[in-house]
């Protein structure tokens, strides 16, 4: 295996890690209108991800940084190519960060409603758009010979990509609901399980349709197993959540999200951005990679620091492992709007 190929795997792992970890964060945010009917229930939802969501989001920042270091041409073409979609994602992420952190600072119903809207928007929009973006990457973009993406805004919303967007949206919702069932206690947890039991079939259907399409049109022989695993794991998660095996159900949604990442990046390999204009203009792992020295030296540093990060992030999850219920939520320490 060549060094650029190893780096392709590293970037794939970082993005997949981001989808696994932020997947349930987004899911929790999207559940606000359904499971968070009172302020205290919303606070239960929010605090299931409270100590960890910021660290989860750094997976994205690091994935993008790794992409920039290892495949500058991929980084440059992808983010200039998806300009307006990226703008929408960035605005959502910004609004979400400040809404989560500032929500509890002021005790005022209007302020809370505003922040809740920010959290929901910041969860729905990226959940949908990341699916759209990665579907388009797998399917290919109109990349001309100068390396510019000439696909228009509407081209990006083709049938396959829209299905991809709906799939990640539905998958993250289920992932998040199962996470809430696992991390909360009492009514919130019961309602989350009920939600999975009643509507869990929808994400399974979306993921099945999208995986089949991806496998038939872009897959390789070995990704067939992955595609099967993605659907099978989600089906298992649905059943497990129904019989109240919250931990196992979450393990299987995690497996399914991770599997979807493997399926997409596996279908893409050995390209990083296929051109639909001419295969000559396709960005590949080989022609988009940095120099050997950069890949080697940053690779060594990542190998040293990566496991340390996993250790302390894992420890954080361990420290905050207790389930949260409405009765654990302390009275708000936020200030009133005016003195």
């Amino acid at each position: 295996m060549t060094l650029p190929e190893l780096w392709f795997i590293a970037v794939a792992v970082l993005f997949t890690g981001y989808f696994v970890l932020e997947g349930f964060d987004f899911g929790v945010g999207m559940l606000f209108p359904v499971l968070g009917r009172t302020d205290n229930r919303r606070r239960v939802l929010l605090n299931t991800i409270g100590p960890v969501w910021d660290g989860n989001e750094v997976w994205l920042i690091t994935a993008v940084g790794a992409m920039f270091a290892a495949f500058p041409a991929w980084y440059a073409t992808m983010f200039s190519g998806f300009y307006l979609l990226m703008l929408l994602i960035l605005v959502s992420l910004i609004v979400r960060v400040v809404s989560i952190e500032w929500r509890g600072k002021i005790n005022d119903p209007a302020w809370r409603r505003l922040c809740d809207a920010g959290i929901m928007t910041g969860s729905f929009v990226p959940s949908f758009l990341w699916g759209v973006i990665f579907s388009n990457i797998v399917a290919g973009l109109a990349i001309d010979k100068t390396g510019y993406v000439t696909s228009g805004f509407s081209d990006l919303f083709n049938a396959y990509a829209v299905l991809g967007g709906l799939t990640t949206l539905a998958l993250f919702l289920l992932h998040g609901t199962v996470f809430v069932a696992l991390k909360s206690a009492g009514d919130v947890s019961i309602d989350a399980r009920l939600l999975v039991r009643r509507f869990g079939v929808l994400p399974v259907a979306f993921v099945a349709a999208f995986s089949v399409w991806t496998q038939i049109e872009f897959g390789k022989s070995w990704t067939l197993i992955v595609a099967g695993g993605v659907v099978g794991a989600l089906l298992a998660a649905w059943v497990l959540a129904a019989i109240e095996r919250d931990g196992w159900a979450f393990a299987f949604t995690t497996l399914s999200v991770a599997g979807l990442g493997v399926l997409l990046f596996g279908s893409l390999f050995p390209n990083v951005l296929p051109s639909t204009i001419d295969p000559e203009f396709t960005l590949t792992i080989a022609n988009a990679a940095s120099s050997h020295y950069t890949l080697k030296i940053v690779g060594w540093l990542a190998l040293i620091f990566g496991p340390i990060v996993l250790l302390y992030q894992g420890w954080t999850y361990w420290v905050f492992r207790k389930r949260i219920a409405v009765e654990h939520i302390p009275p708000s320490i936020g200030l009133s709007l005016r003195r």
Binding site: A70, V91, V97, V298, F320
Partner: protein
């Protein structure tokens, strides 16, 4: 306006906006960690209250710092894709390291600190805030090392086959003398900002408390304001020293930047230092030097008062045209001249607060003068403006280059801004410029409102003495 102009405005606005909040986080995190350390060691309730009070302000600020930082990670690819392709081999490395070494550290341990007050042993919990403090400073180092490559490229060779520089020595990149000078200068600026923030708020509270006749909290605010004043003094000295080192490097590495900072149009042996000029500055013809001092400039450049040969803007322009072909190699002289002066001038307010405050609180005295309360409040925004002015000078003095050629390096490692920008239609970039500017404006107003509200509320939160219901979380969003 071309898409180049819009992209430059956008990068300028978003970066300046990010750097309003960044220095406060970098400086305040270690100071809050110090307050908590003092509490753990002495057990004195005063330190706990200061930790909680400034900790809340730190968190309000941290949120918006993170939010505005996210954009930067993507903006290189979105608006400056030609630059990203050209420089990614070198520039990407510190960015990736920043993510894996620093961002993970600060974000994960901040979560542990916020939510871990009763979940973690006292000492472990203290360790988490120190990890945050280390993380925020480490991230500053990596990003400044990346920026320093653009000012003074080292550790790379030009690969003619690919037509771009490739990294050859990461150690040289991370120990770039430009980075080693810029990092302590930026950190000193951050402590200067946080010191003024603490001294300003505590000074205002000190006068307010003294005038109200309540003696209970006098000691708390007195302690905090004196700590802030000492931080101002120490970091102020560090700012001057590191600034001088950085200036001397710039005279060597980026002479055009320093010439334009001084509005030095025509160089020569021991040119005079300009104190005040008027005019539009932009073509050297309309600049009128009103006040000049001999000797100072030579000392700033090389540490001696005479015998120093310096190039002026006009001389350097001719020199660059010979070297790199026809073109305009001059930065905006008006902006560089005045941003340089605003940067230094803004420090005066903090210095005044520090000196006045240390004098008024000498020997156990507590000031109740109204003017001191006003001075405390007035000083708070000054370092923020100084930080911004300093970065505007550094970045706009680099124009028209995005990667300035190293005079002692391979001249092929260079890139001008017009060759760095993405080929987007102007309207596309205008959409994102308008979006970010409006969103940021709204968030800044909310940030200022929250900060003000929490400052006025004061340091009320005391340690929990009575046994609380252990079922309750110590903190929840």
């Amino acid at each position: 306006m071309t898409s180049l102009d819009v992209a430059r405005w956008q990068f300028g606005i978003t970066t300046v906006y990010h750097f309003i909040f960044v220095p406060l986080t970098i400086g305040l995190a270690p100071l809050v960690a110090s307050f908590q350390t003092a509490w753990v060691i002495t057990g004195n309730e005063r330190w706990y209250r200061l930790t909680k009070f400034f900790g809340k302000l730190l968190l309000i600020n941290f949120a918006i710092g993170v939010a505005t930082g996210i954009v930067q990670e993507f903006q290189f690819g979105m608006n400056w894709s030609e630059y990203s392709k050209f420089i990614g081999d070198v520039f990407g490395a510190p960015l990736a390291l920043e993510g894996i070494v620093a961002f993970f550290l600060e974000s994960t341990f901040l979560g542990l600190w916020i939510f871990g007050w009763d979940r973690l042993p006292k000492l472990v919990h203290l360790g988490t805030i120190w990890m945050v403090a280390i993380g925020v400073n480490a991230s500053a180092f990596f990003i400044i090392a990346a920026n320093s490559f653009m000012q003074h490229p080292v550790g790379a060779t030009f690969d003619p086959e690919r037509g771009r520089p490739v990294l050859t020595d990461i150690w040289a990149l991370l120990t770039n003398n430009t980075a080693l000078a810029a990092f302590p200068h930026a950190v000193a600026g951050a402590f200067f900002t946080a010191g003024t923030f603490i001294a300003g708020i505590a000074g205002w509270w000190l006068v307010k408390t003294a005038r109200s006749g309540q003696t209970e909290d006098l000691g708390l605010w007195r302690k905090a304001s004196r700590i802030g004043m000492v931080v101002i003094a120490v970091s102020g000295i560090a700012l001057v020293l590191t600034g001088d080192i950085q200036g001397k490097l710039m005279f060597k590495q980026q002479p055009m930047k320093m010439a334009s900072a001084e509005s030095l149009c025509h160089g020569g042996l021991d040119p005079d230092f300009s104190v005040l000029t008027i005019g539009t500055h932009n073509n050297c013809d309309s600049v009128t030097h009103l006040v000049e001092v001999p000797g100072v400039l030579s000392w700033l450049a090389e540490g001696q008062f005479s015998g120093v040969e310096l190039g002026g803007v006009v001389d350097l322009q001719d020199k660059y045209q010979l070297k790199f072909g026809p073109g305009d190699y001059r930065p905006n002289l008006f902006v560089t001249y005045w941003s340089f002066r605003v940067m230094m001038g803004m420090a005066a307010l903090s210095a005044a607060l520090s000196l006045a405050g240390l004098w008024l609180t000498r020997g156990g005295r507590n000031p109740d003068q109204k003017w001191f309360a006003w001075l405390s409040l007035a000083a708070i925004p000054a370092p923020f403006l100084g930080n911004i002015a300093g970065w505007v000078f550094t970045e706009m003095g680099r124009q028209p280059w995005v990667v300035a050629p190293n005079p002692d390096g391979d001249p092929r490692i260079r890139l001008m801004v017009q060759d760095a920008v993405s080929g987007h239609p102007t309207t596309t970039v205008v959409v994102s410029l308008v979006t970010f500017t409006l969103l940021y404006a709204v968030l800044a107003v909310l940030w200022a409102g929250l900060m003000r509200r929490y400052v006025i509320e004061g340091a009320r939160e005391k340690p929990n003495v009575h046994e609380d219901d252990h079922e309750l979380l110590s903190f929840a969003y």
